[in-house]
């Protein structure tokens, strides 16, 4: 057993896949120096032909990865800043993602997009604070947001082995988090949720760095309200069966997600459930405000989903049921 940091888990996953499969290469900006630390030491271990610094050309780099994948390679493309996805958007959602169906199954594009440092991290302001995972999921791109070091390790490996494009979001707020893990970390398939804490009164869906927040809320409110902390891990495909089972038990639903509210992931989760299950209380969502993250730290905090807001939503949802 060893205490492993989230970022080390990602690095270990990449190293293990590069060792297992000589056709896995990693590309990105400053990956040889490893600005983001996922590729730390890998250029030395595997050679510069497998750890490749690209020019600052995100569209070309994304299409380059697609081209290499079409020839049977398994590129991992690191986006140094998550919002650089916007620069490369056509190449991800309109090219790589659609090639399989557009070619009638001729093309396979086994590319992994890794987004280290997703989301706000105090003071990076408007263009460096987004979590573009919901946007990718809406385009049907396989998308995961691991919440723990062990899940980060397992899901990154699964992503690299998958035959389609997969986006892996590593929330900035979790990169330094630690967890005791064994020498062997069990694989996790895409589309497999995890219940971090079982409960009977409210299902609290939390994504990414809001998972530890959700666990803290559940601890604070117990035993008066029994909260089930549900971590989808995979945004697309989503483990709807597991969520149905949880909500069928609790009858109440709160979703905490750090992306925009409008036409958002939380809305999608609630809509899917209320189409199928009669809830005992009106569901609630706690999301980011529909706004670019403002710079001053007090403003940044004001637009992001906070623990107190999640707690208030839980009390409201549970209380409404209690009063009925």
């Amino acid at each position: 057993m060893a205490r492993v940091r989230y970022i080390e888990a990602l690095s270990r996953a990449l190293r293990d896949e590069m060792t297992a499969d000589p056709r896995v290469v990693v590309l990105g900006e400053d990956v040889r120096q490893s600005l983001r630390r996922i590729t730390f030491n890998l250029a030395m271990e595997f050679g510069e032909h497998r750890v490749i610094d690209t020019p600052l050309a995100e569209q070309a780099a994304t299409g380059f990865a697609t081209g290499a994948a079409l020839l049977g390679w398994r590129p991992v493309l690191e986006f140094q800043v998550p919002s650089l996805l916007y620069v490369a958007f056509d190449q991800v959602i309109n090219q790589a993602q659609k090639l399989s169906i557009m070619t009638g199954g001729q093309a396979k594009v086994p590319v992994t997009y890794i987004f280290p440092g997703s989301g706000a991290r105090l003071g990076l302001a408007g263009q460096h604070s987004d979590h573009p995972y919901a946007i990718l999921a809406q385009a049907g791109v396989k998308t995961v947001v691991p919440a723990t070091p062990a899940d980060a390790y397992a899901l990154f490996r699964t992503a690299i082995r998958d035959d389609d494009p997969v986006a892996v979001f590593a929330p900035a707020a979790l990169l330094g988090s630690r967890e005791e893990v064994g020498d062997e970390i069990a694989p996790v398939p895409l589309g497999s949720a995890r219940v971090h804490r079982a409960g009977t009164d409210v299902t609290l869906v939390a994504i990414g760095h809001l998972v530890p927040t959700a666990r803290a809320v559940a601890d604070r409110i117990a035993p008066s309200i029994s909260v089930e902390v549900f971590d989808p891990r995979s945004i697309y495909p989503f483990d709807w069966d597991a969520l149905r089972a949880s909500v069928a038990k609790t009858g109440r639903l709160v979703v905490a997600d750090d992306t925009g509210k409008t036409i958002g992931l939380a809305a999608e989760i609630i809509a899917t459930i209320v189409e199928e299950i009669r809830l005992r209380a009106t569901p609630r969502r706690v999301t980011r405000a529909d706004v670019a993250v403002p710079f001053a730290p007090v403003l940044e905090r004001a637009v992001l989903p906070q623990e107190e807001a999640i707690l208030a939503a839980i009390i409201e949802v549970a209380g409404e049921a209690a009063a009925a």
């Binding site: 380059f64 079409l70 590129p75 557009m102 070619t103 009638g104 001729q106 594009v109």
Partner: protein, 331 residues
Amino acid sequence: MSIPDVAPDRSGADAASLYRTVRTIRRFEETVEELTAANEIPGTVHLYIGEEAVAAGVCAALRREDLITSTHRGHGHVIAKGAALGPMLAELMGRTNGLNHGRGGSMHVADLSLGVLGANGIVAGGIPFALGATWAAAQDGDNRVAAAFFGDGGLAQGLLHECMNWAALWQLPVIFVCEDNGYAVSLPASASAAGSPIARAESYGIAAEEVDGMDAEQVHAAASAAVERARAGDGPSYLHMKTYRFRGHHLGEAVLKLAYRTDEEIARWQQRDPALILASRIEPAVQVAIDEEVEKELTAAIEYARTGPLPDPRTATDYAYASGLRPRKGS
């Protein structure tokens, strides 16, 4: 008797072979024009008529294992790279025996087994595949060259310049083939690209040349020199093909009655029809024989496409994911 899903060899580079490829593309496109007007082909198509010498000359300089990335006006490239007409036409008609099983259509027609990494509905969108694919091939020890086709409208796309810069930095075996047909839809090329595209390519250290894109033999000579440089490890080339499309941007243009060019201009370019230029260099009897063979191939292709089954609506989300993941349904 031609077999509709097997293409005849289109690798020859003599005038007769180039004529055969040009004639094949021309007759294919004329057939596509008719079938679209008759609603046998859904959507719209961007016809390559007038520009056939570029695809014929460039692809004749490539080997079967070499690669191309194509455009929204891609039928000619895919045929010249060796695709059989039957599955090509069946794809345009949305049939399951089409190259893409009816999932791609005109703008996405592809045959990866021939190194065709797809036509592409986004201007310049496919060019970066040529970089990654040639790099990957080199890692495998395969000396494969890629030709990346785009139009004069593509000269204004930032992605093209990212790719030219990168290919030059890494000396990748990519041939950037600009098909300058004079117009990006209705925008004259002079309003698309400032300065000299040739000088621009040269500023990246890329060997660049303007070519008469109506003469397939000149195209072939320039492309062969570029392929030789690429194969020798001397990096990318840029070929600026002066050409012209005899039809509108797409078939809808006739209805819209756009007036960005004159009938006189079209007639002037038609005097330099790439099929006529090549025909003047071969024996009339040879030309007649080729024309007959092409008609037979086309007749068989039409039969193949028309008798191909339409896809079952229950398979509408097939191939969405290589892993077999089924997407959620809409209702």
